[in-house]
Subunit: 364 residues, 2 copies
């Protein structure tokens, strides 16, 4: 995400500094300034931000105290630390939805795994750690009382299992003037094994009423958070056709990768515009798109090797983005491919071909 944000920032001729814990992060040698440091550490984040004009994140789990101190000293921190606090803690996030009348899956908050026995929600449920969950990590399915033993023994959200039909997402941006723009709603298909997005279809094939609701909810949330920046609002459509908010991410998001090629303004550009108090621009679709996440192949770990690139490059309207991570492991996000086509069904067909052709394996 950092790398793709940088690629866009260069069009705006911005002087960007990056803080990342990994010395070989994908953007380590393309950032005008790259600093290695732990973004959970107060001092590191504070010292990094002190001499900047604007600070933003592309990963939620950052030291919010440090961001708050920077904000109090007059530095523009977007998303605002107050919004970030609500989002970082999945318990607070759920309470926020409840308080604002935003439809969300039924839930209870627990402190330890023993509390699961006292729930008012019936199994099966999902347990989600309140803090530090990421990309499927920090989520457990509890199907029967036998699973409780294996549950996280930490403050968590227990959520009723959604009877879901489709997962959708709306990206919404807001600048300091309060201008708000949403991207067209997209639809996601998950890899059931890894609990990660495998395919994304833009635009979503849902009813106009569902679309309208999804778009309205995204705007309602970013406004209620009083947030400047970019917010990805992940939602379910359940078997009754209702739109239910799952969770949000206040940063560029996997469900917006296709906007680089598929929309007039990309999620990276709109974030920069929001941060810089510029007009957000036009989020319309240029052409329907399918995004395929390139996940590390099962059974391979080590130095990444990409197989099938040539075959994919022959296909019309395919865009390969390799993130430059040196090491692969099963289901690690190593890149993505976007497929543009005037016909969404044709793009879907091409996406299946890409998926079966392009593999990230490890050096032998």
């Amino acid at each position: 995400m950092g790398k793709m944000l940088l690629q866009e920032a260069y069009n705006y001729n911005l002087q960007v500094s990056v803080l990342d814990p990994s010395p070989d992060a994908p953007c380590c040698n393309i950032a005008p300034e790259f600093i290695v440091g732990d973004f959970k550490d107060f001092e590191t984040v504070y010292q990094f931000g002190r001499n900047k004009d604007i600070v933003t994140i592309e990963f939620e789990d950052v030291n919010t105290d440090a961001l708050e101190k920077l904000e109090s000293e007059g530095i523009k921190v977007f998303p605002q630390p107050s919004a970030l606090r609500t989002i970082q803690d999945k318990g607070l996030q759920k309470l926020f939805y409840q308080n604002h009348g935003i439809p969300t899956q039924k839930f209870e908050l627990i402190e330890t795994k023993k509390d699961i026995l006292k729930l008012h929600i019936q199994l099966p449920v999902f347990q989600k750690l309140r803090k530090s969950g990421y990309d499927g990590y920090g989520v457990k399915a509890i199907r029967s009382s036998a699973d409780i033993e294996e549950a996280f023994d930490l403050p968590s959200v227990i959520e009723e299992k959604a009877d879901l039909l489709t997962e959708i997402s709306v990206l919404v941006a807001r600048n300091e003037n309060g201008e708000v723009q949403t991207f067209p709603t997209v639809e996601m298909e998950f890899n059931p094994e890894a609990n990660m997005v495998e395919f994304l279809f833009a635009p979503a094939q849902i009813t106009p009423a569902q679309d309208k609701t999804a778009q309205k909810l995204a705007i309602q949330i970013i406004e209620a958070l009083n947030m400047t920046g970019l917010l990805a609002v992940e939602m379910f459509i359940n078997r009754n056709g209702e739109v239910i908010v799952n969770e949000v991410a206040p940063r560029p998001h996997n469900s917006g990768h296709h906007t680089i090629e598929g929309n007039f303004v990309s999620q990276y550009e709109i974030l920069l515009r929001a941060l810089l108090k510029l007009p957000l621009g036009n989020t319309d679709t240029i052409m329907p798109a399918v995004m395929v996440n390139l996940l590390g192949e099962k059974g391979y770990q080590g130095k990444a090797v990409y197989r099938g690139i040539e075959d994919v490059l022959k296909l019309k309207g395919t865009y390969i983005h390799l993130y430059g991570k040196t090491q692969t492991k099963p289901f690690r996000k190593m890149g993505h491919v976007t497929i543009l086509n005037e016909n969404l069904l044709a793009a879907k067909e091409l996406a299946r071909i890409v998926k079966s052709t392009l593999k990230v394996i490890a050096e032998q």
Copy 2:
């Protein structure tokens, strides 16, 4: 050009080193490795290239002897130094067209300005320096014998003044396997004062027969040069409707900026694919485009300031590319704006608005 090529190279996860004479070149702090040095100097170019896998250029006037030595030592140098030699010298370039039966404006070669008196071509003519011309520099109009005094006293091409209707360009790429792809023909409108492209329209509004000829000529030239890489073929259409080759540039070109947003594969991506021996991909137009060069405003010199950016960012389908040059001067290329629209006429109208709105001036 270097900066935009880098932005694309990051998608391919390439390790790029840049050699540039200017320590504050637009890509100076975004290149994984940036070396300051004169690319006309043999030793500088040779030492730079020795440990590379592939060497390319984005400016013709490079030390070809050094590139030849690198090539002889097994390094892939694209465009090949032999092709570069023909192109670098406008005299050789004209002879090349003549030898290959490629239609080109009538010309004679001269050594000194005295030779102008002995010409068989009637005035008015254009005098073009055989070497080191760039962006309108190195070209003089000789309208009457009074102008001969002011002519360049150096080896030059004297060219009959074209009775031209339109200037067009075809970008053509070729990889090591000999695969060739052209981009759709585009049309250019010049700023008469600066003799530089001000607007570019894609696709060109010409007859199907003219288009076919232009496309064929581009392919013929890159094949005759036996060149790997990207070639911009600039052509005239004269008042008889004939297509005539003006000159070529063996690198990303101003007449291909719009391909970043307007075509499935951009000129930068296709060059990388050509260099890497990959399939060249599909050059089809996604949407008609107009490109506006952002030239430094007349009467301003010094630290660049951009006026009107916000107003342009409000327009649908406008993409601003600032090159990050710190200093502006009259007619210096400071950036470009691409406008996409399903309707080329609407895009043209927007382009005129962009031109009159966005100005590069200097700090007071």
